[in-house]
């Protein structure tokens, strides 16, 4: 039976927590694409109806703020993985 000393186990856990933080940040792709898509559609609809510009901008910014939240989740998880484990 193979046994590990406590230092080995600690090293493996620390290394995999750091790798996990890196993997968690890949989630940042999603909000980037989504927010850009929202901006493109908003621009299109401003061209279609310039009168409704104010409402379109408010809606676009709120939608982007909500879409941002998954990026912030991955940021929080990455920070937790780096600093607490």
């Amino acid at each position: 039976m193979v046994e590990f000393s406590p230092e080995v186990i600690e090293t493996i856990i620390r290394a995999s927590a750091l790798l996990g933080a890196g993997f968690a940040m890949i989630a940042g792709i999603g909000p980037g694409i989504g927010q850009g898509y929202a901006a493109g559609k908003a621009v299109e609809s401003v061209a279609r109806d310039p009168e409704a510009r104010g409402n379109i901008i408010t809606t676009m910014l709120l939608g982007q703020a909500v879409a941002e939240s998954t990026g912030i989740y991955s940021l929080v998880i990455a920070i937790v993985l780096i600093f607490t484990i």
Partner: protein, 85 residues
């Protein structure tokens, strides 16, 4: 019982943090794709309605200001991982 010398443990953690920072930088691709989409839509919108040019530019500027931030999150995590702040 398997044991590591302290140098081996330290180098495993360093390698893991460099690989993880490279993975975190992948997230910078997303805002690029989204912003490019918005820019393409803006050009067709300006073709369609040249008199709404100012409105289109302001909408797109606001959208791009908000959508670029997930890339910065991934940069922050990558630099945390490299320097171990």
């Amino acid at each position: 019982m398997i044991e590591f010398s302290p140098e081996v443990a330290e180098s495993i953690i360093t390698i893991a943090s460099f690989v993880a920072s490279g993975l975190a930088l992948i997230a910078g691709v997303g805002p690029g794709i989204g912003m490019g989409y918005a820019a393409g839509k803006a050009t067709t919108a300006v073709r369609r309605q040249p008199e709404a040019r100012g409105a289109i530019i302001t909408t797109m500027l606001l959208g791009q200001v908000v959508s670029g931030s997930t890339g910065i999150y991934s940069l922050i995590i990558a630099i945390f991982l490299i320097f171990g702040i």
